[in-house]
């Protein structure tokens, strides 16, 4: 069942074209022998979308009840430039909160999916070392996450689900490590990124595969002539040398992996016979391009023979210190449209309930506006979970009190202390994906510090 064994290729000394053909034939063979077992019954994929910069979730989901909205608008005044008018909100009524809230007006697509029960919101989730109250925060009687309000540190902590020390791996990578056997010995990378390297998908044991979000993916310039074969073989030989030099060896490993796997992935992502490509036809935004590639890989999941896959996508630009109104509206529109289109694609492929998409972001942003019609770095925020297996149309976790200096504020500018930890959010997703209870501590070592390991946003299978 091992479809690619790079060292095997080296020993055989195949040239590039022969190797590509060989890889394809193995893929086809794999398809032939496992197609019946693969037809959607035991396939699961996770799609992580990281909103880089720190999404202002306070303007993504906004109170609509008059008194609560007024409290919001008293801080986020019209003069601040970041107020979202109440009558523009796309209203929702999450049963668990039993009151009206509203999506940002740029998110009609996700609003529709919410109404169909395929989108849930996890409220005031964020990085924590241990549960913490405002009193504990102010008195320094509980351990705070390292370097709060710093982009890089908080991005790493979200992706690692570890808020102290120097995290070396991410919870996506660790999920892949413990669920690796579920792919039945197929040695293709479980984790693919269409958005570059990231800590989320980093594992000590397995290197993620990075696929460009547009264009071709493959080594150019090799024909099958003897001269080219000799050059290709020498290139492979060089990759195996100087392995005692750490950076050289790591670089070689990456190049080696890229040469091999690109021959398998490129025909998939650049296929012209995809049935879902045209659904994305009018979308040029980077996130949509990424999600299209993810959808095309899922479409051809039987070629790879994988039962479990994790994808990493991203959308940047959320660090809205100034001019937030226009910038965030555009980003949320891209997010909403891209996610909805992707959901529709999975529905068309018959795997909507086998694919769960979820968001992460550095942190939320201050409720208090900053000079320049923007907001500053904060802490807890709301995240979106989408999929056919999601118990959508509801909010999970406690809704924060949107008051400066209020019970959820770590200070006086509206930086919410998370009431749900990243660890809990991750654990809920991990268990749906197939991480066993016994493996949970490996994936999320600090989970037992928090009350619940399942926030309940998946339909019980």
């Amino acid at each position: 069942m091992i479809i690619l064994n790079r060292r095997g290729f080296l020993k055989r000394g195949c040239d590039a074209l022969a190797m590509a053909a060989f890889a394809r034939s193995l893929g086809m063979l794999n398809f032939a022998t496992t197609a019946s077992a693969q037809s959607g019954s035991d396939y699961k994929a996770l799609v992580c979308i990281f909103m880089f910069g720190g999404n202002d979730a306070n303007n993504m989901i906004i109170p609509h009840e008059q008194a609560e909205y007024d409290a919001y608008a008293a801080v986020r005044t019209t003069a601040s430039g970041i107020n979202i008018a109440r009558d523009t909100l796309l209203q929702i009524r999450p049963p668990s909160l039993n009151r009206q809230l509203g999506f940002h007006p740029s998110m009609p697509h996700l609003h529709r999916l919410w109404n169909r029960g395929n989108v849930a919101i996890v409220s005031n989730v964020g990085t924590l070392v241990e549960p913490m109250t405002r009193a504990q925060y102010l008195a320094n009687t509980a351990i705070k996450p390292a370097s709060l309000f710093s982009h890089s540190d908080q991005q790493n902590q979200w992706q690692a689900s570890l808020s102290e020390g120097l995290p070396g791996t991410g919870w996506g990578g660790r999920m892949a490590d413990v669920t690796w056997p579920q792919n039945g010995g197929v040695n293709f990378p479980m984790v693919l990124s269409v958005a570059g390297n990231n800590l989320f998908a980093t594992s000590a044991a397995h290197e993620m595969l990075n696929v460009p979000s547009t264009g071709t993916f493959g080594l150019r310039g090799f024909s099958s002539s003897a001269a080219n074969t000799a050059r290709f073989n020498a290139m492979q030989t060089l990759l195996s040398q100087d392995a005692d030099k750490t950076l050289v060896a790591r670089s070689a490993g990456t190049i080696d992996q890229a040469i091999d796997y690109s021959t398998v992935i490129d025909p998939i992502v650049n296929s012209t016979s995809s049935t879902i490509e045209k659904m994305f036809a009018k979308q040029s935004a980077s996130l949509s391009r990424q999600l299209l590639r993810v959808a095309k890989i899922i479409e051809r999941r039987e070629t790879l023979g994988l039962k479990r896959q994790i994808f990493f996508c991203s959308i940047g630009g959320f660090d809205t210190h100034n001019g937030q109104a226009t910038a965030q509206a555009s980003l949320l529109q891209q997010l909403s449209l891209g996610m909805k289109t992707f959901y529709d694609a999975t529905e068309k492929l018959g795997v909507a309930s086998r694919v769960t998409t979820f968001t992460l972001s550095d942190f939320g942003r201050t409720l208090q506006p900053a000079a320049g019609a923007g907001t500053d770095h904060a802490w807890g925020s709301h995240q979106i979970v989408m999929g056919g297996a999601v118990r959508g149309g509801d909010v999970y976790g406690a809704w924060p009190t949107l008051a400066l200096g209020g019970p959820d504020d770590s200070g006086s500018e509206g930086r919410w202390i998370p009431t749900t930890a990243v660890d809990q959010y991750a654990a809920t997703i991990a268990q749906w994906y197939g991480v066993s209870t016994s493996d949970l501590p490996t994936v999320l070592p600090n989970l037992n510090r928090f009350a619940s390991s399942d926030l309940g946003f998946f339909v019980v299978e």
């Binding site: 370097s147 080594l219 050059r231 020498a234 950076l247 670089s251 190049i255």
Partner: protein
């Protein structure tokens, strides 16, 4: 770069000057000038006092010292460099010494009498080949009394004589290549010749003294593009929008400077600074703004870091990027607070970082836990201290609270828009209540600059950009010490810091190379190394587009955390490897495909919409000339592209592939060798 030949600058890194003879190239063969000499005021090569080129080694110091800065007893001298054999024969080397001496030629120890003795002759032999240049190292110490050291040679038919200046060089080819890898955008044969003739310390001094190539003053354009400022397809004279409302021209100038400018080290340091003090065309893409910004960094590359902080803080490009421009004092009702963006990133990324550091760059731990350098209170303090500034007044205009956008000149304080309350800064400093935007800004920057973290924080980043991703703590400490005091009591002297980095044993001595040493070449450096090393030329058009493909869209960093974050760690390890953040299976393929394009295309065509476009090309003629001697061809690539670090196994693999190409197709042979070197993982890493 031919003009560089013949100029010999010899000055000691610590400021001790010494003269040296001028060497000239004759008939393509370098004329020797002598050996690099380092004089230490101790018996064991500690306490370097003098660094100079000695034409020959033939000294009788008597009871005196070689230099007023050195004691007459207990000193040591190390001569290094290369020697060229004049004939193919077994050569006999002779030392006459009082006291200890040891000599290596071509890496082989031929003389070893490292003892205390009166003037004694020692001999050793080694076979050399005519015209070949070999590494040479001579170490000598004096205990007490008379001091003598002489180095001679002989061969059959040639009587013993002091080794003449004409046969001696102050640097090996590999030493020259390594310092060029650290100080330029890529070694060339001409630069290798030059460094081999003047020696490494002199090369560093020469580079530190080079005037700025820099950027032109691009014309000012209003923030809103005039309707008639458009692009006409294919017309190089009508690209108003592209040339003024994007950083296209600034990018081209960067690559042209890197390809051709003589101020190579200045450019490397300026580019490093641009990756520490990050702004991005994603927010400010006016050519005149980008040009002024990069000129400021280039001019200041060997200036003082405190001055740079001043210029950066008041630069409207940074002001716009991190929202210090039009950062108002708190609104009357308090609902709008000063913007924290600049203050936070200034602290975290430009000066001190989030955790307290020791001088050697390691974290201070108290009870096992790191110590935060600042909290939210301090961030807000600086945010308030930096209120009241707006864009420079456009000539002819009148200063108002929020001036119209203008990126030319420093920002200006608008009276009455500065927060007058006290502000809490680092280490308990409090700015007094006052209505003085200028004094608050100056004091706030001073408060940061005196913080103990600045020296190790900036030193480590500069080391990472020039030499290695994981410098030893001792290396960081040595450089940070110079950052704190350049020897004249001045903190932040970047010329002194760069000099300390490049002269450090960890940058120079290859025996100190650890398994983890070196740095992955960032895409811009990689591409330039290839085009320069292969005698190429480029107008920058192709390189700028490829930089983007390789995840380093020049001057369009995705965030203030640079193209790759400085704290990125090699997956699954604790090793810092910033450039690996953008090295992955996708960009790895693109790196190889870039090599394929430049090596296997005669000329990447000039863009007809660019004035004076020349396209991009390499010139493999010198390799083709060696097509019949594959080993020599590979050795040439080894010297120019890999500072002589290629293993024999690597050479063998390349030779095998080249020999499988048509024996008559010299271009195919040269291309095969160049492709294999430039795509190799060994070449991706600067060590």
């Amino acid at each position: 770069m031919k003009a560089l030949l013949g100029i010999v600058v010899v000055a000691h890194p610590l400021g001790f000057g010494a003269g040296a003879p001028v060497a000239k190239a004759q008939g393509g063969l370098l004329t020797g000038v002598g050996l690099q000499a380092q004089y230490f005021d101790s018996k064991n090569f500690n306490d370097l006092k003098v660094s100079r080129i000695d034409p020959t080694v033939d000294f009788d110091f008597g009871a005196l010292s070689p230099d007023p800065t050195i004691n007459g007893d207990t000193f040591s001298i190390r001569w290094t460099g290369a020697i060229r054999a004049e004939a193919t024969a077994t050569h006999t080397f002779y030392t006459l010494s009082d006291d200890g001496v040891r000599l290596w030629v071509n890496g082989v120890q031929v003389i070893d009498n490292y003892t205390i003795h009166t003037a004694t002759e020692n001999i050793g032999t080694i076979a050399l080949v005519a015209g070949k240049v070999y590494d040479l190292k001579l170490e000598y110490f004096e205990q007490s009394g008379p001091a003598v050291i002489r180095l001679s040679w002989s061969r059959p038919g040639f009587e013993k004589a002091v080794i003449p200046q004409t046969a001696l060089f102050p640097a090996t080819r590999a030493e020259a290549g390594r310092v060029l890898a650290q100080t330029t955008w890529g070694a060339t044969e001409a630069l290798l010749d030059h460094v081999q003739q003047i020696g490494v310390p002199a090369w560093i001094e020469e580079q530190l003294a080079k005037p700025t190539t820099g950027y032109p003053v691009y014309p000012y354009y209003p923030i809103t593009r005039p309707a008639d400022c458009i692009n006409v397809t294919g017309d190089p004279n009508q690209q108003c929008s592209r040339d003024n409302y994007s950083l296209f021209q600034v990018q081209l100038k960067f690559f042209q400077n890197a390809m051709n400018g003589e101020d190579q080290l200045r450019q490397r340091v300026a580019f490093a600074l641009s990756q520490i003090l990050v702004v991005s065309g994603n927010e400010v893409a006016m050519a005149y703004a980008g040009g002024d910004w990069n000129q400021m960094l280039t001019v200041n590359a060997f200036g003082n870091y405190r001055s740079i902080l001043q210029e950066v803080t008041l630069n409207p490009v940074m002001g716009r990027y991190l929202d210090m421009v039009n950062n108002d004092k708190p609104s009357a009702n308090g609902t709008i607070q000063p913007n924290e963006n600049y203050s936070r990133e200034l602290l975290q990324l430009f000066t001190i970082g989030t955790e307290r550091l020791n001088l050697d760059g390691t974290r201070v731990l108290v009870d096992g836990a790191p110590v935060p350098t600042y909290g939210q209170t301090e961030v807000e303090g600086f945010a308030h201290a930096f209120t009241g500034w707006t864009y420079p007044t456009i000539p002819g205009g009148t200063l108002i609270r929020h001036n119209p956008t203008n990126y030319r000149g420093p920002m200006e304080a608008f009276p009455g828009n500065h927060d007058t309350e006290p502000k809490t800064l680092l280490n308990g400093w409090v700015l007094p209540a006052r209505d003085d935007a200028v004094a608050d800004l100056n004091d706030a920057l001073d408060n940061i600059f005196i913080h103990q973290n600045v020296a190790p924080f900036i030193s480590q980043r500069l080391i990472q950009h020039l030499v290695t991703s994981n410098p030893s703590p001792a290396f960081v400490a040595r450089v940070a010490t110079v950052f704190n005091d350049n020897g004249a009591g001045v903190k932040g002297d970047l010329a002194a810091v760069v000099r300390a980095i490049l002269n450090d044993p960890e940058a120079r001595d290859t025996t100190m190379l650890t398994a983890q040493a070196g740095k992955l070449k960032e895409p811009v450096l990689l591409m330039l190394n290839i085009v320069r090393g292969l005698n190429g030329q480029s107008d920058g058009v192709y390189l700028r587009s490829q930089a983007s493909t390789l995840s380093q869209n020049l001057f369009y960093s995705p965030s203030v955390f640079n193209y790759y974050p400085p704290d990125y760690r090699l997956a699954g390890t604790t090793l810092l490897a910033p450039e690996f953040a953008i090295m992955n299976s996708s960009t790895a393929i693109s790196r190889s495909n870039f090599v394929n394009s430049v090596v296997y295309t005669t000329l990447i065509a000039p863009d007809p919409s660019v004035l004076g476009a020349t396209g991009t090309s390499v010139n493999l003629a010198n390799l083709q000339a060696l097509a019949g001697d594959t080993a020599a061809m590979v050795e040439k690539l080894n010297e120019v592209m890999m500072n002589g670090s290629m293993s024999q196994a690597m050479k063998d693999a390349i030779i095998t592939a080249v020999n499988a190409q048509s024996s008559t197709d010299t271009l195919a042979r040269a291309r095969c060798a160049a492709y294999l070197v430039a795509t190799s993982s060994q070449f991706q890493v600067q060590r």
